[in-house]
Structure formats: C-alpha cells, structure tokens
C-alpha cells in the first residue's frame, strides 16, 4: 500500500520548490508585466492598475534603448563562432601533441572558471586610455591611442547616421573570447579523443589525405559537440550581463547596453517593476524564437539533438 506513495513522497521538496520558485514566479511575473507596478509611484502591488499590453507595446515601440540593447546582444553573440573556431583549432593542435596536453588544457580552462569580475578588472586596465598597455603598445608604434571602451560609434567628421561598428562592444567581445575559448577547447578535445583511431587509419588506407579525413571522419563525429556548443552559447551569450556591467555599465550613453542590464536598470534603479517584467518576457520570446530557428537550421544540416 505504501509502495506507490514513495515517488510522490520523495518529490515533495521538488514540488515545493518548483511550485513556489518556478510556477508562482512565472505566473506572478506575467501578471506583473500587465500592470504599471512601480515601487516609487504605485507603492505595494495591490495598488497597481492593470494596463494590459501597454508595457509590451511601449517596450517595442517607445523604448529606443531596449531596441538598441537587443541589437547589441545579437552583435555580441557573434563572438561565439570566432571563439568556437579558435577552440576547435586549438583542440586539433592539442590532440596531436602528446606532451603537455594536460597542462595547456588546464591553462586554457582557467579563465573559463575565473570570475568575470576579476577578468573585467584586468581587461579594463588593458583597455584604459591613459595607462593601458594596449594603447602604450600602439603609441610606441606611432598609432594614437584609442578609447576602447568609451568610443562613441561615430567617427567625428562623418555625417551623423553613418553606421559605424561599436568599438566598445567589440572590445567586450574580445574579452569574452579570451575568457571562454578554453571551454570550447576542452569540449572539442574530449570529442576528438573519443573518435577511435581506427577510423582515421581506415580513411587513410582508403586514400584520404588529412583534409578529407578531417572533413568526412572528424567533423561528422563531432557534430553533437559542435551543436551543443552552438546552441548553449547563443542562448547564454544573449543574456550577457557581468561583462558589460563591469566594463561600461552600458555606456557611453547606452551604446553598449544589453537587454539584461537594461532590464535590471529599469526594475531596480527606476523601480519600474511591471515594465521590467515586460522587458524580460519580451526578450525571452526573442531568445526562444532564435533558439528554435537555430535548432531547425542545425537539424536540417543533419544534426540530431535529443
């Protein structure tokens, strides 16, 4: 009689946690996004009026910073393919080397687990206009120093409206590439080492050279790893926060603003909780759409996920 009860019994902690922290927060958050809940003006949530989709409409039409932040997020995500390629190449190199593989693997991996705050300090100093080594190095070559983190994406002298690449965002992307390429190295190295050597030997005996062997043996067998890196990296990178917060706070003049940072600013500095919630769910829908599209594209390329 007791036997069938056991699973439910063991799941009680889980039920509690998910009921409170998962379902309730989701529902409450959605409700909140339909109100004008603002700690400063409406006081407690009981006083907040329901205003329907007004928050969402405002987010999409009347909030240029939000739209810019989404654009920045998608630009930022572009560092991932570069990071992946570097990781893959280094993994290939490490795979063929016998000595020192573990040492290099550890060295590459350390930045991945180092706190982004600490890394931001180092790179913030690197990029510093007056004291940073990067500008010092450039100046010693005769190139004038740049404002790597505070460059407005307009070149003085050009008419306003000419699209210029946001250098500050680029600088942040470089830092992220440096931090996370080790993760790709580690994952690809493990995937590479799981390919049995016999396959490569068989390919070689059939007359394949190194490139063909790579293309037709290595790559197909590494597809799960590549797919995993691509998907998780996209969703994770879109949610960037710490890097931007530490280096530029979204500046200068909101040019490097990213969605999560903007959401946090709206909600916790301007106290617009309802609006902040609406921003969150809007961006969530965007991420969801992007992930689904990405999965569809990659699946058509022949990769199976689950």
């Amino acid at each position: 009689m007791k036997r069938w009860l056991i699973p439910y019994l063991f799941l009680i902690p889980f039920f509690l946690d998910f009921a409170i922290f998962s379902i309730y927060t989701l529902g409450f958050g959605i409700y909140m996004s339909f109100t004008d809940f603002n700690l400063a003006t409406t006081g407690p949530i009981a006083n907040a009026k329901i205003i329907g989709l007004a928050n969402y409409i405002k987010a999409v039409t009347d909030d240029p910073v939000f739209l810019k932040s989404i654009k920045n997020a998608f630009i930022y995500v572009l560092y991932e393919p570069i990071c992946n390629v570097i990781g893959l190449m280094l993994a290939l190199v490490l795979n063929s080397a016998v000595k020192g593989r573990s040492v290099f693997r550890t060295i590459f991996f350390i930045p991945v687990v180092t706190s982004t705050v600490a890394i931001a300090y180092v790179w913030g100093w690197l990029y510093d206009y007056t004291y940073g080594p990067l500008n010092y190095f450039l100046r010693s070559l005769g190139v004038p120093g740049q404002y790597w983190l505070s460059h407005l994406d307009v070149i003085p002298g050009t008419p306003p409206g000419t699209p210029i690449f946001p250098i500050a965002l680029l600088s942040i992307m470089v830092m992220s590439t440096w931090q996370y390429f080790g993760l790709n190295v580690v994952i690809y190295l493990a995937a590479l080492q799981s390919i049995p050597n016999e396959l490569h030997e068989a390919a070689r005996m059939s007359g394949a050279n190194a490139w063909n062997s790579f293309r037709h043996v290595t790559v197909p067998l590494m597809k799960p790893a590549i797919l995993f890196c691509a998907l998780t990296a996209t969703a994770g990178s879109l949610q960037v926060f710490t890097e931007v917060y530490m280096l530029t706070r979204g500046g200068p003049v909101d040019h490097t603003m990213v969605p999560v940072l903007w959401m946090q600013t709206q909600a916790f500095e301007f106290n617009r909780f309802g609006y902040g919630a609406a921003l969150a769910y809007t961006f969530f829908l965007i991420i969801l759409a992007v992930s689904l599209i990405e999965m569809r594209i990659l699946r058509r390329g022949g990769m199976v996920y689950y």
Binding site: W4, I6, P7, F10, L11, P13, F14, D17, F18, F21, S22, Y24, T25, L26, F28, G29, M32, I45, I107, F109, I110, V113, T114, S115, T116, V117, A118, Y121, V122, W125, D128, Y131, P133, L183, V186, I187, A190, A191, P224, F228, T232, A235, Q239, F241, T242, Y245, M246, V260, M263, Q264, A267, F268, F273, G276, A277, A280, Y281, F284, I287, Y306
Partner: protein, 252 residues
C-alpha cells in the same frame, strides 16, 4: 596569455608598463588584506564560501533525490514532470529575477544568506543530467538491495548516491563555480555590505582602481580573490572538465 594577465596584477604600476616587475613588492599582498575595509576581504571570502558550499550541497541533495525518482520509478505524471523540467531548461534565468526578488522581500530573506542559498536549489539542468546518469544504473542492483531489506530511502542514500559519484561530482563542481562567480543575483539581493560575496566586494573596488596609488592594491586584492577558485580548478580539474564535456553529448 593567461600568465601575462596574472602577472600584470602583481607589478607596481610604472609608466611605461613593464611585463616583469624589476623589483616585485610582495608586501602589497600583505597590505591588500587590510586594504578593503567594507567589507574586509576575508569576510567576503567567508561569505562566498558559506553561501556557495551550502547552495551546492543543497542542490546536490535535492536534485539527486528528484533525479532518482524520475529515473527509477514509474508513476502517474512522471512524463509531465520531466517535460516541465526540460522546458525549464529552455527558460533563461533573467525572466524570474524580478518576481524572485519580490518573493525574497516577502519572505524577509533580503539581505540574508537564505536568498542566495534556497532559490535555485533545484536546477533543471542538474536534475536532468543526474537522471540521465542514474538511468544507467542497473535495476538489478536495487532489487537485490530490496531483497536484503533495504528501505526505499535507504536505496537512495546507500546505493544510488555512492554509485552516482561521477555525476554528483560533475554537477556539484559546475554549480559551485557558477554560484561563486555569480554577480547579478547577489547584487540585487544583498545590500548589506557585511554580507557581500567576493564578486560584489571586488566590484566595489572599481571606482578606486584608476587611482595611481591604489592600483597595485586593487590588483593584489583581485589576485587573492581569484586564487581560491584557480586552486580549486587545478585540484578538481579532472572531474570539472568531465562535467563540462559530459554536457556536450548524451550517454553513448
């Protein structure tokens, strides 16, 4: 590159900057301990340690229990629960931030350790990973234990947990690192400077860092703060890396 970044934290800043300090001032490290006043560095480290360790242990316990039930028992609704967990993995973390903050306010958990330990104790990823691993544990082992009179909970505590050590290690380590390095959530929830985590405390130094005199001290503080995790990584790297790579492909 890594070593260069680390070394630049040690040197006394000179202009033009050199890569290897001609006369390294090791006393900077000693002075760094007293440099941060609010909160002091050791206090921030203590906070982070307590929070991260508690959170990870709680997470391991809760997630493994849930994963065990989902892996080894068939009951009505198990598909729904699994589906819900998988869909949780798709929902990014920031969507829950604001409601969660309000929840913490109502529980009275703001500015306490609890707000950092309890939420997120059941991580969908962790549950899912552990379930995948536990499925591979043969049921015959459990049946044999039952024949010997093992209680149901004893099955979990004495048989499954020891057998799941690799999965536990991987999940635990990943979450440990994540919890230690987290900035966003502690920043929202902790305003009491005595309770700052290491990340928050470091962040507070940002305004001081450009000042010429303090630069080396800030750099030393940063190094000290990062060192525990670097040592931790080197020590546990085998399991840590296995954890990260285990995510990338399903069980063969």
């Amino acid at each position: 590159m890594v070593t260069a970044a680390l070394k630049t934290r040690v040197e006394i800043m000179s202009d033009p900057p050199k890569w290897i300090p001609p006369n390294p001032q090791w006393t900077t490290y000693i002075r760094a301990w007293g440099f941060m006043r609010n909160p002091p560095l050791y206090r921030a480290l203590l906070n982070s340690t307590i929070i991260t360790v508690s959170h990870t242990l709680l997470l391991l316990l809760g997630s493994s229990l849930t994963a065990y039930v989902l892996a080894k028992y068939k009951f009505r609704g198990d598909h729904w629960i699994l589906w819900w967990i998988v869909s949780q993995m798709m929902i990014p973390g920031f969507t829950g931030l604001i409601p969660m903050y309000l929840l913490m306010a109502w529980f009275g958990w703001l500015n306490t350790y609890w707000a950092l330990i309890i939420p997120g104790a059941f991580s969908a990823y962790s549950i899912f990973l552990m379930r995948q691993y536990m499925i591979t544990i043969p049921n015959e082992v459990l049946d044999a234990a039952r024949l010997y009179g093992c209680s149901e909970f004893g099955l979990f505590w004495r048989m499954i947990l020891p057998l799941s050590k690799p999965a536990l290690a991987a999940v635990g380590l990943i979450n440990f690192v994540w919890s230690w390095n987290d900035l966003l959530w502690p920043m929202l929830v902790i305003k009491n400077r005595d309770l700052f985590t290491v990340q928050l405390a470091l962040g507070g130094l940002w305004d001081v860092r450009s000042s010429f005199d303090y630069l080396s001290l800030v750099a030393a503080c940063t190094t000290i703060a990062t060192l525990p995790l670097i040592i931790f990584t080197i020590v546990t790297q085998k399991y840590l890396i296995k954890g990260f790579t285990g995510l990338s492909y399903t069980k063969r």
